[in-house]
Amino acid sequence: MIRRSATEIAAAVNARQAAAVEVLEAQLARVEQMEPQIGAYLAKTEELARACARRVDERIAAGASLPLAGVPLAVKDNMCLAGTVTTAGSKILQGWVAPYTATAVQRLLDAGCVPVGKANLDEFAMGSSCENSALGTTRNPWDPERVPGGSSGGSAAAVAAREAALATASDTGGSIREPAAFCGVVGMKPTYGRVSRYGLIAFASSLDQIGPIARTVEDAARMYDVMAGHDPMDSTSLPRPAEPTAGGLRRDLHGLRIGLVREFATKDLGEEIDAVYQSAYRQLAALGAEIVDVALPHAEYGLATYYLIAPAEASSNLARFDGVRYGPRGNGTNVQEMYARTRAAGFGPEVKRRILIGTYALSSGYYDAYYVRAQKARTLMAGDFEKAFGACDLIACPAASSPAFPFGAKGDDPVAMYLMDFYTIPMSLAGLPALSVPCGFASDGTAGARELPLGLQLVAPLYQEARLFGAAHAYEQATRFTLDRAPAGLEGVR
């Protein structure tokens, strides 16, 4: 049962061919078996899961039909789930029990999802490999010597390793799409404001967005449909209705113009990877899309823009972690000392770096030169996309600069790690919906390296999630890269 898609599980539970409690027990056994190798979860939530599964079975018995009946769910640990420890992967929140549930998570529970556990992440969602988690190591199911990507690395690894059918994830500069690409699953970032962030621990508020990770495009679309829509508890949530997407999945791409970005030529990514992307673009054309050339002349400034705006907002959001209301407290004879020691002991190196750079960019004398200039560059980038979407309906490009890399490969140069998000950051700055769908396999050229999945990123104009999922489904069904192939050692999973 647990190797089936979320769509299939929900259909079986709704038809009473399987009980949610049975699906859950099989899932928990699978998690037990895999966790020593994968480490996708920071905490398991069996007790809550059993209660949720029983409730689903009761509702079905009473005649209800639930869109995600009995579907095992991993919840990224920067999202509140009432009564469970919620840490954001940080020592500064170690042991903190969430007093309420995030809206996006609550909607999934109401739709029949069963929460198996809290998934690992880079601390406060800052990172591209999950190596910045202060509380655990997550391994890539396709090669345990490699990272799962980040920041939603636990979510992507859990879904790839069949430790959950669906996972919640959050994306600020690529944190859904990059780990989805690394783990050979589907990850989607909605339009900024589509999914409520009430109960999401904030990183960079003008960028953060919650989205789905799943093994199929259809599963991701169904999960998105449940989460999306206005929430009065989040003042940045879009008041417009979210058009359902799962009913609009397509078999071909006739009538769609797909733009290839002139500045994103894949030749520099190496021969093998270039060949995978060229073949993906040919497949889009073979499915009926008209391929056009578009330009994003300011995309090369994306990284610089992002690494001012996101840390500036983070330095402000993370001011609340001061040892007063939650988390372990550092000792101090006065409150200033207490703040500084609490934060010194509680935050890890990447979080400290971002707080420092953000504080600097917002500090007196530098605000206009750095922060405001970055906000102006952001305007230019959004304008690039607006122009590009005058000539095309979707954009196609890589989801990451390489396949999953070995632990420690990026050394202590933060800019080398940041470059992993070169292809995902511009869309985040423009608030656009974008997803990663598996598009083939490549080794990274090192001797004896295993074949690793790569992700094709599709990008749509604001609010066009239905178009995005529709096209991704056509591509996925025509190629089936990870539908018929599981990570080594996972093929026999029942």
């Binding site: 309420y100 010194a344 560059a377 952001r378």
Partner: protein, 93 residues
């Protein structure tokens, strides 16, 4: 950038080792972000966020919120109905 000064603004104690490391790493990052100086932004308005939402208001009405005990439950120190903190005003000022 003077990492010690910025760390004080951010209420963050740094060891000597950390200060040296972050100084080096952040200087490298600043070198990268200086590329933005190449852009002509003299006629460009800043973007704070991308969707057209302004002044989202709700009715000024009472509604249920967290119970006091729930709000205090995660506190490292409390006294009665309050969060307890070390001395705020005193000799150090």
């Amino acid at each position: 950038m003077d990492v010690r000064y910025v760390a004080r603004l951010a209420r963050l104690d740094l060891s000597d080792e950390e200060a040296g490391l972050y100084q080096r790493q952040l200087d490298r990052l600043l070198e990268h972000v200086r590329r933005l100086q190449e852009l002509d932004v003299s006629h460009v308005a800043p973007t704070a966020q991308v969707v057209p939402l302004t002044n989202v208001l709700r009715d000024d009405a009472n509604r249920p919120s967290l119970e006091r005990e729930q709000a205090l439950a995660g506190a490292p120190a409390r006294e009665g109905a309050f969060f307890k903190v070390p001395q705020i005003i005193g000799d150090e000022e």
